[in-house]
Every structure is written in C-alpha cells, then in structure tokens.
Symmetry: C2
Subunit: 208 residues, 2 copies
C-alpha cells in the first residue's frame, strides 16, 4: 500500500486519454494562475476558470462536480507528492510519513501560492470538507494501518488506543507544520520526533 | 508561577476600581451578546458594542486600544480558567497543562459561542496575533519553563531540544482539541498522553 493510492480515491476525477490529462492540467494551472494573481477563492467562478484555461464550462463540469472538487485537485497538484513507504519497519514508515508532513510545511512556507491556497481552503467549509475526505482521511487510515501492523509485529505498545498513539506520533509534526508558522522544520526532525517518541521522554539513565 | 499570571500580561487592560470592573464586564458581555445573536466579527464596531453595553465609545477606548484587544478579553472570559499547577513534579504539571487544553477543547465543542469566537478569531489576523501574544505565548513560555525545570531535575531527557520535547508533549492534545473536531476528549486523556509519551511507545517488554 502506498500513499499514492489515496490520490485515486473517492472524489478524484476519472482520468481519460492523454489529451484529456492535458486539458485537466490546463484547468488546474488556470486556477493557480488566478490565485497567484491574487483573485480570492470566492470570486473564482467556474466561468472565470474556464475563460482563463481556454475551455468551455462543460469541459470542467465533465471532470469535476464543482469548484470544491476542482480546488482540492489544485491543492494536491501544489503539494509535495506522497511518499513511497519503505515498508521495512514501522519506524521507517513513520519517518516517511512525518517527512511528507514536514515537506508540506516547508513548501507552504516558501510557496506563497500554496500558503494562500491553504488559507483560502480553511475559510471555505465545503472545500475543507472535500480536502479532508479525499486527502486527509485516506492518509490517516494509512497511518492507523501502519500502527496496527506495528502492534501486531511487537514494534508498538498495545495497551494504548491506536488513535491516541497516532496523535502522539503525528501530533508534534502537525503542530509545527500547521499550527506554528514560526517553528523550525529542519532536516532530521522527522527522525528525531519518531525516535524520541518511540524511546520515551524520560532520561535514558532512568529507563528500567 | 501560575498560568493565571499570564492573564495580567502585556495587552491586558489596567484594572481600576470595582465600579470600573463592572463596566468592563458589561462591555465584554455586550460583545458576547452580539456574537450570540450571530453578528459577524467584521460588523462588530466599537460603536455598536458601546451601544449594546450602554456606554460611550470613549469608555471602551479608555480600557482597550481597539477591537482586537477587547476581543481577546472576550475570548479569555469565555475560556475555562487557567489551571493552578501543582508544582510537585513535572509529570503532574504537564497533566494540568494538558488538562486545560482538553477542557478548552471540550468547551469549544459544547459552547456554540466559544466555537464561533475561535472561528472568527482565526479569520482575523490582527485578533489572532493579539490572542497569540497575550494568551498563547505566555502559556508556551510557561510550558518551556516546566520542561527546563524537569531537565534540571532529571525528570526529562536532555539530549533533545526543549522546543521539540514541548511539541511532543502538547502536540497530541492540541491536534485533538484544535485540529480534529471529531476526536474524542475523554477524561483521563491528559494522564494517558503524558504517561505514554514519558514512557515511550515501544512495547514495555522490549525496553532495555
């Protein structure tokens, strides 16, 4: 199972022939262009997007049910790609997961466009819901699956609810990348968080 | 040191005679009333607040520099009070800190008014900044101080940056209470997070 699978999950438009992909790309890039020009999301009508991309409105509606679904694809196109999980051990899979969150945080700080896209998305409950259903929920299901496998393999304690364990592992990186725009996101942070959380925060000398 | 100290930190209005406190309360409650009636933050002018509270605009401006500062006091009045830290050991102080975050999360789910207040606050960068400076930053400084004391006392590992340790401890509760409105916030969660994070996520049998 790879995170990339989640990209073709519910809500993703059906991909057709190569020519169709080029049209989709033109439409997604059209939305990007408008956002880069500072057009607020509320003024991004399908009509305006169609005009910018040089296609008819029907061409857009054949691919996306509406602005929400289209916008989620725009966000995904601007985000770093989902990682291939090494699948060798839970620790390495967790590092790969956190590394994607870290890179997403780095990109959203350095890319004005992605930064704005996130901000606008959060101000629209419908689009936030669509993003949640097609991107965040599948990613979360994958995280929980990795942890359950870790519990089966004896890599993770089994006396705590897997949801709580997930928040303990992913929480620190989410807090840094999403809630604390001033927090550092240095290379090696993913490894540091995963290893520290797995080992515990008590001084090593007092471990029994 | 108690979290309550941070309430009189920079930005808090100077408290005068008892009569003055009653006026302040009337103003804060006036804002609450308007918010409960569904008036959006953007339409909450000082003039309208003054009219609702039955005071003059000057009375408000004598106490708050503007809408931002006033609104932060409204949020603080609606939030659960800051906890008294037991100060006996790092673990108990951390549980008290997380417990306040948990209760804040519970209240913001059950209280429509506080829920709306947070949502509106986040949509206003100026008010969010003011809240950050007067509520979140002092709380964070206190958290870091507790952890540094824990490192000095041998209760916390010293080989990891204290900022990262703080995110590892507070992150899971923040993620639940702020980012995941569907997540459960049961009693005992604070203890469970703190103890699990301190002990580590590896199975107990494999601890060396």
């Amino acid at each position: 199972m790879s995170l990339a699978d989640s990209r073709t999950a519910p809500g993703a438009p059906l991909r057709g022939r190569p020519r169709s992909e080029a049209v989709e790309r033109a439409i997604v890039e059209g939305v990007m262009k408008l956002l880069e020009e500072g057009v607020p999301l509320a003024e991004l009508s399908i009509e305006r997007i169609a005009r910018t991309a040089g296609v008819g409105k029907a061409t857009i509606y054949r691919r996306w049910s509406g602005k929400e679904e289209l916008f989620v694809d725009v966000v995904r196109a601007a985000e770093p790609p989902d990682p291939e999980l090494p699948g060798t051990c839970m620790r390495d899979d967790l590092v790969a997961l956190l590394e994607q969150l870290r890179q997403r945080g780095v990109v959203s700080r350095t890319s004005m466009i992605l930064h704005n896209v996130y901000a606008q998305m959060k101000s629209s409950p419908k689009i936030w819901c669509a993003y949640h259903a097609t991107v965040i929920e599948p990613r979360r299901r994958l995280q929980l699956e990795i942890l359950r496998r870790g519990q089966r393999n004896g890599e993770l304690r089994t006396d705590v609810d897997v949801d709580v364990l997930n928040d303990i592992l992913v929480g620190p990186m989410l807090v840094r990348s999403v809630m604390r725009p001033d927090a550092e996101l240095p290379e090696g942070l993913s490894e540091q968080i995963v290893d520290t959380v797995l080992e515990g925060l008590r001084p090593v000398s007092s471990a029994s």
